[in-house]
Symmetry: C2
Subunit: 305 residues, 2 copies
Amino acid sequence: MLSLHQLTCFLATYEHGSLTAAAEELGYAQPSVSEQIRALEKSLGVQLFRRVGRGVVPTTVADTLRPHAERTLAAAEDTRRAAQQVARFETGTIRFGMFGIARLYAGAGLVADVLARHPGVRVELVGQNSAGVQEDLRRGRLEAAMIAIPQVHSEGMSVTPVAKDEIVYISSDPERLRSPVTARQLGNATLVMPDTTWRAEDSVRIAVRSWLHSSGLNPQTRIEVEDPEIAVELVGMGLADSVIPRGAAEQLLPRLAPNAGWVSFRPKIHDVFAIVHRAGATLSPAAQLMIEIATRRIQAVAQPV
Amino acid sequence: MLSLHQLTCFLATYEHGSLTAAAEELGYAQPSVSEQIRALEKSLGVQLFRRVGRGVVPTTVADTLRPHAERTLAAAEDTRRAAQQVARFETGTIRFGMFGIARLYAGAGLVADVLARHPGVRVELVGQNSAGVQEDLRRGRLEAAMIAIPQVHSEGMSVTPVAKDEIVYISSDPERLRSPVTARQLGNATLVMPDTTWRAEDSVRIAVRSWLHSSGLNPQTRIEVEDPEIAVELVGMGLADSVIPRGAAEQLLPRLAPNAGWVSFRPKIHDVFAIVHRAGATLSPAAQLMIEIATRRIQAVAQPV
DNA sequence: GGACAACATAGGTATCTCCTAGGGAAGCCG
DNA sequence: CGGCTTCCCTAGGAGATACCTATGTTGTCC
């Protein structure tokens, strides 16, 4: 069986023209190198050195094989170097899951932070929907993710809340922003809600629904859209009001609905963001890095817990 | 310590997405592959697979490393293939020593024969002078050679005569070719002799000198040249006679001195060609090939012994 | 001819590699 | 929901390997 060690011994011997010198360079005893060369010759079925009295002389076969051996060792060294570079975040890919409103107002900053600290890496911020992220985590395709809590099927998952964001009512009618919104008021409101496709798993909707249920009321959603941006624009046009996390409101309102504002619920409702990964897993340095940066980013726009 | 075996296990596992499947493909038990992967991860300092419940999932590090591992294994396979091609004479270099008049009239044919049988090989037919050939043999730089015998310092050398060639007298004076030349006649002749530089070791000269010494005479050499061709041309011009092996005479006279001819000595003198290599050495297939072809070639122009 | 230098050989030990056997977790299915 | 299967891990042991030191052999140099 051909081995890198044999090739190393071969090259050292070839270059020094001596087993003893090669052994000295490699830090072995002379018989060890001798044995490796013999094993290599047997493995390849060719004679590499003529044992001539005192000393060894490379055969023409050795001349022919030398560049191949060098290329092989160089490729191995290259493999090792690539691994080290990845370990140091000088290159490689960092994959992280992030779903929902969190990605909307922390995603770009998160990617920017990672690229600023590690310019050589590729970043993959995945997560089309909550179920997909959870499936990826469960199957091991994702190591860690940040998601809003209510939707977590947490068997075997480690869930660490890192921030909570108040859920607020937004409207372009100043009248409705005068005082905190009650369940009754919300029940009577005309609403536009985003994330239609994932409405059943959307943490904001789940939080609001359970909040309303305790008052015996049902939410009334008049308009369903996918993008939070569109929902906010519709609020700006006065066609409906909406319910979104406060961080999103503060980011989107000035840009998309300057005449609108937000107001708390009474009692207040919160959305909680958490880091999720498989329970019992040892997190890789890359995952730890992403968790650290994502946490810092989300805590810049939501309250730390 | 990184090893090719570890890389093989890594690639098999990566491609199958399973340690068990990889082990089956490689013909090992599953724990063996598992151990190799673990050793590779430790050696590189990175995690290559996430152990997730049943099954393993490659990390992004594994994605990054895979092409490097493939290149390394390909280079190793390339090394092995090169060795096999050399062993089958499909490529590589064949080096052989040949000195003196033998090369002159068997060298080109020898090279042609080798190239005809093994079109891919490089051929080196070395031997500027007898002493150099012997030194190369002794030092191991040459594995085997064909040389004329008298000059062999045979300690530690295996000498196998394969052909003998009569040494003849050449002249453009028909009078001198009438009957075999005696020692007295040779002592009175005006001679041109080739191989000036190596005159002390030239087998023809040694043979002739000892032949003359038994008659108490000394050779008279009027002209010294390097090339046998020039000596023969001078003979053709009638400026001197010469003494060369019959094989050389038959090849050179028609071309360079059509009006000249040759005649034996009385008693006859012979030059013996032998295969020489280090005693006790096991000959490589390449050397055996060259010996076989060179012997056949030389026996085509000289008498086999 | 004696001293030295370089490789081969021998023998012992530690490590590595591979196996079999058995345990535990996750997924599949009745 | 409980049993079965699948897949990986761990443990322990046998055989091979790699390395060492000590010694023998041979060629070289003085």
